[in-house]
Symmetry: C2
Subunit: 569 residues, 2 copies
Amino acid sequence: MEAAPPAMPELADDTTSIPSSRGEGDQSHHPRTLIRAIVGAIDAHDKKRVVVGGWVRTGRRSSSLLAFLELNDGSCQQNLQAVVKGQVYGDLRRLTPTGTSVLLEGVLEKLDGAKHKQLIELQVERVIDVGEVDARVYPLPKTKHTLEGLRDIPHLRPRTDTIAAVARIRSELAFATHSFFRGEGFLHVHTPIISTSDCEGAGEMFQVTTLFSQADKVEKELKENGAAPSEADIEAAKLVVREKGDAIARLKAAKVAGKQEISAAVLELEKAKEIVSSLEAERLRLRPGIQRKDDGTISFENDFFKRPAYLTVSGQLQAETYACALGKVYTFGPTFRAEKSHTSRHLAEFWMVEPEMAFADLQYDMDCAERYVKHLCRWILDHCREDMEFMVNHHDRTAIERLELVSETPFERISYTKAIKILEDADKEFENKVEWGIDLASEHERYLTDVVFEKPVIVYDYPKEIKAFYMRLNDDQKTVAAMDVLVPKVGELIGGSQREERLDILKQRLIDGGLALGPYEWYLDLRRFATVKHSGFGMGFERMLLFATGLDNIRDIIPFPRCPGKADL
Amino acid sequence: MEAAPPAMPELADDTTSIPSSRGEGDQSHHPRTLIRAIVGAIDAHDKKRVVVGGWVRTGRRSSSLLAFLELNDGSCQQNLQAVVKGQVYGDLRRLTPTGTSVLLEGVLEKLDGAKHKQLIELQVERVIDVGEVDARVYPLPKTKHTLEGLRDIPHLRPRTDTIAAVARIRSELAFATHSFFRGEGFLHVHTPIISTSDCEGAGEMFQVTTLFSQADKVEKELKENGAAPSEADIEAAKLVVREKGDAIARLKAAKVAGKQEISAAVLELEKAKEIVSSLEAERLRLRPGIQRKDDGTISFENDFFKRPAYLTVSGQLQAETYACALGKVYTFGPTFRAEKSHTSRHLAEFWMVEPEMAFADLQYDMDCAERYVKHLCRWILDHCREDMEFMVNHHDRTAIERLELVSETPFERISYTKAIKILEDADKEFENKVEWGIDLASEHERYLTDVVFEKPVIVYDYPKEIKAFYMRLNDDQKTVAAMDVLVPKVGELIGGSQREERLDILKQRLIDGGLALGPYEWYLDLRRFATVKHSGFGMGFERMLLFATGLDNIRDIIPFPRCPGKADL
C-alpha cells in the first residue's frame, strides 16, 4: 500500500491539550495521535513516542512471543501496523481477533519501503486498554459482508471499510459545502424543520404531534384512577333511560295512573337522560386527545402548535425571506417525504442544500450551481483521494474519472425545447413518449448526459405546467425560468429556478394551481414590499454522494436510513 | 462610521462568474459586488465600475435633482451611500422610502475621510431595478421596532439591523464549529432526526406520524363515495333492534301470541342485531387511520414506520455508534422538546452541537469543551467585530468584554462536592436549599461564575442520582463522570460526560433507572463488542448565541422560533 500523504486539513496536534487543573486522584490523561497524522508525515514521526487507539482490522500471532496488529482508527483508510511482544503483554491471543479495540503506547519506527509493505510501524511498549471481541458471536466477522446485510446492523456497520469511507467523504462534502458558500459571501441560515407551510405539495408530509401521547396519558390516568365513565357505564345509564320511558308508556297504556304519577315518572326520565349526557360529556372531557371536527376531520386545537404542523419538505420558501433581506443565503438541513417508495434512490429523511440569492436571474443561478458542483468534485479529489481509490477498487472503477470530468468540463446548457428536439431526432426508441410538455424521464436524461453530450447538462426553461407555482413565468407565457442540472450516473442532481418576483403574476399562478392565497400571504409580502429578482436551487446531498462514491443504494450513503417501515435506532 | 475592514473570509469576487453558454435572448447577467467587499478594500475599489444591490435604510432627496441612499445588502452591518442624480433616474421619490430594494450600476469614489462620514460612495449611472415600498402599509417603517413586535413578522424581521447582525453571527458560529472540529480530526456525522430511540427521557417528545392524513383521506373518500355507514345509520339500526325487542316484550306481556309468532319476532331481532354489528365492523374497517389496541392505547401498525417514531431529543446515542468505529465524530443538527415552556430560554426546536470521542476520558472531554468554547469566542471577535460593536451599542455593553474574558482565561474546574462546599460556606442566602445531592439551580451557577470565580467554571463528578444512566460510574459508587460548563450570563452552556463503557454496570444502571433493556440492546452492543472508553458533550447552539450576542430572548436568536402554539411559516 502506498503511503501517500492523505490530503486532509492541517490537523491540530492531538497531543497538545490544554493543561488541566483537574487532578483529584483521576487516572492520567492519554493524548492520542491519529493514524492520519502519522502516515501523512512519516519522517516527522520516526522514533516518536505516541499513544494510538484503534480497532484491529487483522491480527496475527507469529508465536506466543509476537503479535502483529493492523490497526485502523477511522481517521483514514490506511492501517498502522503495531507490533506487540509477549513480554509487553502476556495474553496476545486477546488482542488479535478482528474488531478488537486497543489503546497502545509505543515508539514509531520508519521501515525500509523496499522490504516492507508498511512504511512505518508502532513498536508497542504498553497496552493501555483492550476492548475484547468474542469472534464466535461478533456480528462483523472477518469475512466479506454485503452492503445489504450491513443495513441490519446500522450501529456496527461504520466499523467496515466501505461505510467508514462513505462517512469520511460525506463529512468532507459537508465541509466543502460550507466553505464554498461562505467563500462566495453566503450566510448559512437554519430554516425550520417543523413547518406549518407546505412548499407547494412537494410530496406527502409527516405530521408532528403530541396528541397521541396526550391521548395515551389520559387513557392511563383514566385506568389508574377509575375516574372515567366506561362505555359500559354509559350503556347502563342509557338502559335506565329506556326503562323509565317504558314505564311511562306502560302507565299511559294502563290508563289507571293519575296525572301526578305520570309527571313524577317523566321527571325521573329527564333525570336519567341528564345522567347519560353528563357521563358522555365527562368521557369526552377526559379523552381530549383526538377529537374530530363536525366535518369528520381531526381537530388539532389541543395539539402542541394548536394547528397541524409538518416536517419540512424544503427550506426554500423560508430561505427566500432571508435572501430578500440579506442577499445571499443557503440552508443545509434535513428534509422529509412520507412517500411509500422502496427504491434505492428514495429516503423518508434526507439532507438538502438550498442556496437562495437576491438580485440573481436564472443565468446567475446556473452559474452558481455549476461552480458549486465543480467545487465539490474538486474538493473530493483533493481531500479524499485515498477513500476514492478504495471506492474505485471495490465499487465503481469510473468514480474518480467521473469526478475529474465534471470538475473540469464546462456544463452544456440547452433549453428544454432544444432538449425535446434532440430527443425527438434521436436514433433511439424511448420507453416514454417524447413530446413538448412531458417531464423528462431518466432514460431521456441519461441519453442527453451519457450519449449526446458526454458531460453534465443543464436544461432550462421548462413548460410551466410541469413546474411549481413560484417559478418565474417567461415572456413566452408558456415556459418558466427553471433549470435542472443533469449529471452522468444519477441524472438530476440539482433543480432550481428564478422565482416569480411579480406580485400579480405570482397570485395568478397560485390561483391557477388551485392553491389558496391565505397561507401564502407572508410569501406574497416578499413581493408586495421591495420585491427583488431572486433565484435559488436545491441539491439532494445524498444524490451528490451517490454520484461521487459510485455506490448504488442511497441507504448506504446516510448513517441511519429512514424508509417505510424502517427507522432503526 | 469607521470603515475598518470587517474581518471576514477572503471573498470570491462575485464579478468573475464562469462564462455562460446561455444566450437565447435572455436579459444580460448583472454581476454584483457585495458592500462588504467594497468597504473592506476601499482603495482597491476607488474609481471602479460596479453593480450593487441592496435595500435602502435611509433615503433623502436634496431636491428633485439629487437623492442620497444609504444602502445595505446584508453582507455587513455597514451601509454604502449611493448618489443618484435626477438626470439618471427621473422619479427619485420612488427610490427613497425605507426598505426599497434597488439594483444600481455606477462608479465608486473614495471620499476625503476628514470631510465625510462615508469613506467611499457610489455615483450611480444606471438604476437597473427598483422594488417599491408603500411606506403607508409597510410593516417595517423607519421608526424603532421592539424585538418582541418583530417576532410577529418573522418573514420581514431579517430586514432589521439587529436580526441581520444575529444572522451573520449565527452563520459565522456555525462555520467556526465546523472548522474547529474538522481541525481536530473529527468527522461530521448526520444523526437521524426521526428516531425510534429515546435518549433516556431527556424530555417530552414530538411524535412523527402519517395516521392523521390517512384518517382524513379515508374520511374524505367515505364522504365522497357515500360508502361508509354514518353514526346516524348505526343509530337507526340500533333503534330497529330496540323496536324489535320492545315488540317481543309486548307479545310476551299480552300473552296472546303463539310460540311461532314469538320465535319469528326473536329471529327478526337477531337479524337486526347482526345488521348493527356488520355496520359497526364496516365503519371500523373503513376508518383504519387511528385504531386503539386492546389496552386502550393507540395502535401504530398502520403508521409510516409501523411503530411510534419521534423527533430526536439528542443525537448522542447514535453518534456513539460512529465514535466507537471512527474515533472522533460530531453531530450538529436540530433537536426537539415538546415541553410547554413559555420562557425566554426554551424552544421546541433548537440546534445542538454534540461531539463524541473514543479513547477519551472526562478530562479529555473537559479539555475539548474548553478549547471549543474558546475557539468560538475568538472566532466571533475576529470575524464579527462590526456586528459585535453593534450589539454592544444597542443591546449589551459587556458583550465584547465577555467574549474576551472567556477566550483568554483558563476555566476553573471544581468537583461537584467542592462546589457544594463553596455554596454552603457562602455568605449569601440562596432561595434553593444547598446540600449534597441537589441539582445546581441557576442562582448557584451564577454565584460560582459571577461572584466566586468571575470566569467560566467546569463542575464535574455529579451525584449519580441526578444524572443519566449512560454516564460513567466513578469508583466512589456515588458520583458519575459528568461535567457541566457554566459561563457568565447564561449559566450552563455545555453538559457532558464520560460514557459508561462497562457492559455489566451499564446494564445495572439501566435497570436501576427503571428502563427496559430491550430497546437499548444496540447501545449495549457497543460495550459487548470491542468496548472503548469514550466521552462527549452537548452544546445548545442558541445558548451560545445568547451568550455571545447578549440578547435575552432565545426567540430572537433562531430564524423561525417554534414554541407552544406558535410555528409561523
